[in-house]
């Protein structure tokens, strides 16, 4: 298929990173951003974004408030909190470590 399912947990990281990179954004914007970055190689039901957003908000990593969208419609805008920024940093490092290990493992010559 060539499209990757989103691993549980990685969606959180993606949302945090997106908000970090582009500032306050509504759910639709976040979804489009992730899709654009993934160049359509990601199979994401955009709806699943909303439970994730709620979860992140409950953990105080992001906060949300009503605002006006580009064409002046009311939309919920999410932004990163300081706690969220720290979390993103931790998660990023963690991800990179795991990725490195997995990569090394996969590249190692196979044998008995």
């Amino acid at each position: 298929m060539g499209r990757t399912d989103v691993l549980q947990g990685t969606l959180d990281l993606m949302v945090l990173k997106t908000l970090d990179a582009s500032g306050p954004m509504h759910g639709y914007g976040i979804a489009q951003h992730i899709e654009a970055v993934a160049h359509n190689t990601l199979s994401l039901n955009q709806g699943t974004l909303y439970p994730a957003l709620l979860r992140l908000e409950q953990r105080s990593w992001i906060r949300s408030r009503w605002g006006k969208s580009e064409n002046n419609r009311r939309a919920r805008f999410y932004s990163l909190t300081p706690a969220g920024r720290r979390r993103l940093q931790d998660e990023t490092e963690n991800w990179e470590r795991v990725a490195t290990i997995v990569q090394r493992l996969l590249k190692a010559p196979s044998g008995a």
Binding site: Q46, G47, P51, A83
Partner: protein, 884 residues
């Protein structure tokens, strides 16, 4: 932190569900619209774009579901689900539910009943302002306290203490006759020094209390009424202040009325000034001294000052204090509630043990039940339930059980607590028990704890073995090692606790029997008593009083059924006037003032009516008249303490001051000790004087502070004598009412009310405990035996005989019983100390009691296996083997 924040956010989620729902709806709508817009921009038709947007978004309802689930608190939802499931499964097995609920309700109910009494009687302070500042001054000896003081000591404390903002003395309650029109009523009156009302901190609702100048010899006759007397006798007329009431012949000016909610300790109808004197009443230990501490003064400070004052008195006047005597300060609250405190806490301990037994029982039931459900558990594990979920679900079940038991227990307690208080001694000023927030909280606390206690172990055990059961065929798992061990431990524990309780109850019952059969020193059966107050001028002259008594005795003896009658100024087991005495025949002792004796005047036949034998000498008779040689009879304690140098009869003694004849009295006889101040108490010295020879001053003082008693020996078969006695005494002097006619045995019984309370209650709880424990033991034994049926079958098939198998069951029971009994005896031995103050004539570690109780439990434990074993053996072994 994050977790807490998340929990709070979720809590908000539970509360603000609708708001979040609307927010999500709006966000979803926005998202779908934007997607549709995009797809239209990319060239789709509106319709197709909409469909594509839905596809990209995913299923809206699924999103909402996830969102909702996450929004709330799954724990709570799980809990509700578990609770519903638990209730269903409890309803499905009514036998189990009823048995468990019965055990627990009994346990929890008993606990909250006792606790509510404790809550009322001990934890709630005295009904006076700042009761923690109230202190009683006592004569302090090495191992006991004298509650009463004489005038000298009261004065020493009055003059030298700095820790009290006010200090008062009161005597023991007496009786006064209130005459209104043709009616006369006997009222309880308390003599108090004028500072008394300041000390307790309660002001009269009407008028004033006493003035210092009214509280001295010769002061105006004034009286303060209780609210009850004021409303009942004076019809609540506010103009009574300043009016006179005739109390025992003497007109008294009514100066005040106490408030309706004022609870007097002890119960009192009216108060009159004590008028402390250094002689007579004030010469003996007849005062209780109560003080209110200055704010910010603590009890130890007061204690230190009292000890210093006692040292001061000893330095100034070395003969004044007895050997080893000091003064001390005791918390008034503790004194008032003191005789309830220890028994109530012992009871709380006892009901705590009962609850533990109930817990052990229910834990066992749960265990057996859980084992039967092992397959169900295993299936749930296989379907993905975590161990925590299983434990949670089993715990929910047990907590629901214990909560229901808590509710029912609370209802039971509300019904039982007033009964308990009614059984308890009257010393407590609190007449009603209420189930307040504290009691409810403690009950549910106990219930919750209980639920976890009996639920956790079975839950953990069973959930742990659930997977193992799945691997097996699931039918033989009940014998699994860990569970069976647990069961042995529970049963051993139950036996041990039951032994502790039974030992305690047996000791108290034996003590009670000992107390009842204590050598009273007299013959209380078939003796009626009637008290009356003779306060006033009419009855102070010895010849008049003697004449009055003679006439009365004549009338009484003419009542059918009456054998003989006499008069005494103070009954055995009750208080009498205490006076200082000197021994004239022993010159080296003549000057000492520290010798105190109880003083009682009697009519000549008193000793024969009471069935008292003289140890030596002669009783009073016609020889002892007004003009002849003054005589006295002393009791053995008096002779032991003061007359040990020579044979008592013939020695001469004198009451110090104007209350005794200047020439003294000759001891003509010695009587045995009677139990004078409560059964099992210390014996006190007593001197008896024929009323005709008593000094007028001594008679007046006695009458002022104590009611006198008629004692009447009746024929055992006599019927309805009380009413005729009452009538005869009414005719004798219509203005002097009789308080109440009681049998001597009733008086003795009421002096035993403390002990009866402890004995009855503790025996009751022990009985409950033993029944619970026996039921539990039997249940476990039956279960164990039935789970060994397969083994029995095999053994019989292999040629074992029934007796051998029963023998093995018996051995098993004996072993468990022995371990439990030994553990219990060790516990009972260790706890014996706490019962020290409550046992009488028996050691708290009495070996006979211990061994008997231990053996009894051993027999129960061993025997309870036999019936199930016999039943098991009656089954056809072949069938047993087949079904397994």
């Amino acid at each position: 932190m994050t977790r807490v924040r998340q929990l709070l956010a979720r809590l908000r989620g539970v509360l603000g569900q609708k708001q979040l729902d609307e927010r999500l709806d709006e966000e979803v709508a926005f998202h779908l619209d934007k997607l549709t817009e995009r797809f239209v921009r990319e060239g789709m038709s509106q319709h197709d774009a909409r469909a594509a947007a839905r596809r990209t978004f995913g299923r809206v309802d699924a999103v909402k579901e996830t969102y909702r689930h996450q929004r709330g608190i799954p724990v709570i939802e799980t809990l509700i689900r578990d609770a519903r499931y638990a209730v269903r499964s409890l309803v499905r097995s009514p036998m189990f539910t009823f048995t468990a609920l019965g055990s627990l309700t009994l346990g929890i109910g008993a606990n909250s009943a006792i606790f509510s009494v404790i809550n009322t009687a001990l934890l709630r302070p005295l009904p006076y302002p700042e009761p923690e500042r109230l202190v009683q001054v006592v004569r302090q000896f090495e191992d006991w306290d004298g509650w009463t003081m004489d005038r000298q000591r009261f004065q020493a404390v009055q003059e030298n203490s700095t820790v009290f903002s006010s200090l008062a003395a009161l005597a023991s309650p007496t009786g006064l006759n209130l005459v209104t029109g043709n009616e006369a009523e006997y009222l309880t009156a308390l003599p108090v020094s004028y500072e008394y009302f300041e000390v307790i901190g309660v002001a009269p609702t009407l008028g004033r209390t006493f003035l210092p100048e009214e509280d001295v010899a010769g002061g105006a006759d004034v009286v303060v009424l209780s609210y009850d007397v004021w409303t009942r006798v004076m019809n609540g007329d506010p103009s009574v202040i300043g009016q006179t009431a005739t109390l025992s012949e003497v007109p008294h000016t009514i100066v005040g009325v106490m408030p309706a909610d004022f609870q007097a300790i002890p119960n009192t109808d009216l108060w009159f000034p004590l008028r402390p004197a250094t002689n007579g009443q004030g010469g003996g230990y007849n005062y209780s001294v109560v003080g209110r501490l200055t704010p910010n003064v603590a009890l130890p400070q007061a204690q230190a000052e009292m000890e210093a004052i006692a040292r001061g008195v000893n330095e100034v006047d070395p003969g004044e204090m007895s050997d080893g005597e000091a003064l001390g300060a005791r918390s008034y609250t503790t004194l008032i509630t003191g005789n309830l405190r220890a028994p109530l806490f012992i009871l709380l301990g006892a009901v705590g043990l009962v609850l533990l037994i109930a817990c052990a029982n229910v834990a066992n039931l749960m265990l057996a039940r859980a084992i039967n459900r092992e397959r169900e558990m295993a299936v749930r594990v296989a379907l993905g339930a975590s161990r925590r979920r299983l434990i949670g679900q089993l715990l929910t079940e047990s907590v629901i059980l214990s909560t229901i038991a808590g509710v029912v227990g609370l209802v039971l307690a509300g019904w039982a607590a007033p009964l308990l208080l009614a059984l308890s001694p009257a010393a407590s000023p609190w007449r009603e028990v209420s189930l307040d927030v504290t009691v409810v909280a403690v009950t549910f606390g106990a219930a919750g704890l209980t639920g976890v206690l009996f639920g956790l172990v079975p839950a953990m055990t069973v959930s742990g073995s659930a997977l193992a059961a799945l691997r097996d065929d699931g039918t033989r798992s009940s014998g699994s090692g860990r569970v069976s061990w647990l069961r042995q431990i529970l049963i051993t524990f139950e036996i041990a606790v039951a032994v502790v309780l039974l030992v305690g109850a047996t000791l108290l019952i034996k003590s009670f029997v000992n107390l009842r059969s204590v050598e009273l020193g007299f013959e209380p059966d078939n003796v009626l008593t009637a008290q009356m107050s003779l306060t006033g001028e009419r009855y102070t002259d010895p010849t008049t009083v003697h004449q009055h008594y003679s006439t009365g005795i004549d009338r009484l003896e003419r009542v059918p059924g009456v054998e003989a009658a006499a008069v005494v100024s103070g009954l055995p087991v009750e208080f009498g006037l205490n006076l200082p005495i000197e021994i004239l025949s022993s010159p080296e002792n003549a000057g000492s003032r520290s010798r105190q004796t109880d003083y009682r005047y009697v009519t000549p036949d008193y000793f024969s009516v009471m069935g008292m034998d003289l140890v030596s000498g002669r009783p009073f008779d016609q020889r002892d008249a007004a003009g002849t040689q003054p005589v006295a009879i002393v009791n053995e304690e008096f002779a032991r303490a003061y007359l040990d140098a020579a044979p008592p009869v013939g020695q001469r003694i004198r009451i110090v001051g104007s209350w005794g004849k200047p020439e003294g009295m000759e001891v003509v006889g010695v009587v045995g000790n009677m139990q004078e101040q409560g059964l099992g108490g210390r014996s006190i010295a007593i001197v008896y004087v024929p009323v005709v020879q008593a000094e007028p001053n001594a008679i007046a003082t006695t009458h002022y502070y104590f009611p006198i008693s008629w004692v009447i020996r009746i024929r055992p078969t006599a019927q309805g004598v009380s009413d005729q006695v009452r009538e005869a005494l009414r005719v004798l002097d219509p203005r002097t009412p009789v308080s109440r006619v009681r049998t001597m045995n009733e008086i003795i019984s009421s002096s035993l009310s403390d002990q009866r309370f402890q004995t009855v209650i503790l025996s009751l709880f022990s009985l409950v405990a033993v029944v619970l424990a026996a039921a539990g033991i039997y249940g476990i034994m039956a279960y164990t035996v039935s789970s060994r049926q397969r083994e029995f079958g095999i053994r019989i098939a292999l040629g074992a005989t029934s007796p051998r198998i029963i023998g093995s069951v018996l051995r098993h029971g004996l072993m468990i019983g022995a371990v439990g009994a030994v553990l219990g005896l060790v516990g009972a031995f260790a706890l014996g100390r706490t019962l020290d103050a409550f046992v009488f004539g028996i050691s708290p570690t009495d070996p006979n009691t211990m061994i008997t109780v231990g053996l009894a439990l051993l027999v129960i434990a061993a025997g309870s296996g036999i019936l199930p074993a016999v039943r098991a053996l009656r089954r056809d072994p072949v069938r047993t083997l087949r079904t397994e």
